[in-house]
């Protein structure tokens, strides 16, 4: 077969044909994967919310949103059997990381004590900043943020006069992480009185245990 000539008509026809092919392929794969992608994203956040909260009876998985400049924080409130609030998980982001956005979820009890945290997204250097996933819950003095009251503790790296020892060799990542934690606490306190409108999901204790694994 001879090669098609480069006339305007041929060029237009061939490019239109290839575009149509690309469009149909992409549209069908998009429809195929759309729901799975959405599910995997929400389940990751749900899992993290469950892991960082103090013991609770039910939790609202429809968050209260709080916009603060470029950073967004989502507050997920948790309640006990008598519908009294026991704490909240706050999803908070920071754009000051070494490489892109850091997205974490921090769990507080009603007094503002940090229960636990989970990292949803981070692109920090492997081996350095990426250690944040476990660093700030390692049980070493000045390193662990769990059990600290975010309202009374100075949650800054010790270099900046705070009481937390940042990750060795990753001060920028540590600063960004603690910024997100402080922001989470701010969102937590400013939303204490906001009435929760979301649907409440009941979780039994067995499920809660497994989410900690």
């Amino acid at each position: 077969m001879k090669k098609v000539k480069s006339s305007i008509l041929n060029i237009v026809l061939v490019l239109a044909g290839i575009s149509a092919f690309a469009g149909v392929t992409l549209a069908s794969v998009y429809t195929l994967t759309k729901d799975t992608i959405k599910d995997s994203q929400t389940s990751k956040i749900e899992e993290a919310v469950r892991a960082v909260l103090p013991p609770y009876d039910h939790v609202s998985l429809k968050p209260i949103e709080l916009k603060n400049g470029v950073e967004t924080t989502n507050v997920y409130k948790a309640y006990d059997k008598n519908n009294a609030m026991v704490g909240a998980a706050v999803e908070s982001t920071s754009n000051n990381g070494y490489r892109g956005t850091i997205d974490i979820i921090v769990g507080f009890n009603t007094k503002g004590v940090i229960m636990n945290y989970a990292v949803i997204e981070q692109n920090e250097t492997p081996g350095l900043g990426a250690q944040m996933e476990s660093w700030f819950k390692t049980n070493i003095a000045h390193q662990d943020i769990q059990g600290k009251n975010a309202g009374t503790s100075n949650l800054n790296v010790s270099k900046d006069g705070g009481e937390i020892d940042g990750i060795t060799g990753a001060t920028i990542s540590s600063r960004a992480f603690l910024f997100a934690v402080r922001n989470a606490y701010f969102a937590f306190t400013s939303n204490l009185d906001v009435q929760d409108q979301g649907t409440k999901v009941k979780v039994d204790s067995t499920q809660q245990k497994s989410s900690h694994l």
Partner: protein, 206 residues
């Protein structure tokens, strides 16, 4: 030049290995091999894109006018890259996160555009498919070896399984300089093997 299917297939894996011999696609090679698993996943994603684009372009090679070959090739390649990206995002979200920007960047991997231009635009569908498979497997092989070495030397693990305690590892191998060092030694090994082979042949002639 007569071609045999086996030869075309093996060509990409050993004799013209894209990473270790042709030095194509160095960017993802250095960037995504901090662990064995990410290296292998990157290789497999590239394998899929290379195979699919090679096949489609060898089918369409006579229909694409000379002046828009590049435009047409890039459109076809980027379609398959986006397909790969969406599939990985849906069924392997953890890998989607760790490959990050390098997944969409497969579009500009010179390995793919290179094979499409050099091979698929001149050969039949059958040979192009074999070439795509062979080159893709060669790429995957090199990335997996590089990733395994870096992960092992850096963290004492292979595919996430601990081989020796982590504090014996040298962190530098997980970071960017370690990629250059490991790749350099790998290429040295391949080159010395090639040199020995040619010397053997010369000795036999003598």
């Amino acid at each position: 030049m007569k071609q045999s299917g086996v030869k075309v297939f093996l060509n990409g894996i050993f004799k013209e290995n894209p990473v270790l011999v042709l030095f194509l696609g160095m960017c993802p090679t250095l960037a995504t091999t901090s662990t064995a698993l990410t290296g292998m996943s990157m290789g497999l994603a590239t394998l899929f894109v290379l195979f699919a684009s090679n096949v489609v372009i060898s089918i369409l090679k006579n229909l694409i006018p000379e002046r828009i070959t590049m435009t047409a090739y890039v459109m076809i390649i980027s379609t398959f890259v986006t397909v790969a990206e969406m599939l990985i995002h849906a069924y392997y979200p953890a890998m989607y996160v760790s490959l990050g920007i390098f997944l969409p960047l497969i579009v500009v991997n010179c390995l793919i555009l290179g094979r499409v231009q050099v091979f698929a635009s001149k050969n039949s569908v059958f040979y192009s498919a074999l070439d795509g498979l062979g080159m893709g497997l060669g790429f995957t092989f090199a990335l997996t070896v590089l990733g395994t070495l870096r992960e092992l030397l850096g963290t004492g693990k292979a595919f996430g399984n601990t081989v020796f305690p982590e504090h014996y590892g040298a962190l530098i191998f997980v970071l960017a300089p370690g990629a250059f060092i490991t790749l350099g030694y790998l290429i040295a090994v391949v080159n010395s093997a090639k040199l020995r082979k040619t010397e053997d042949i010369e000795d036999n002639i003598d």
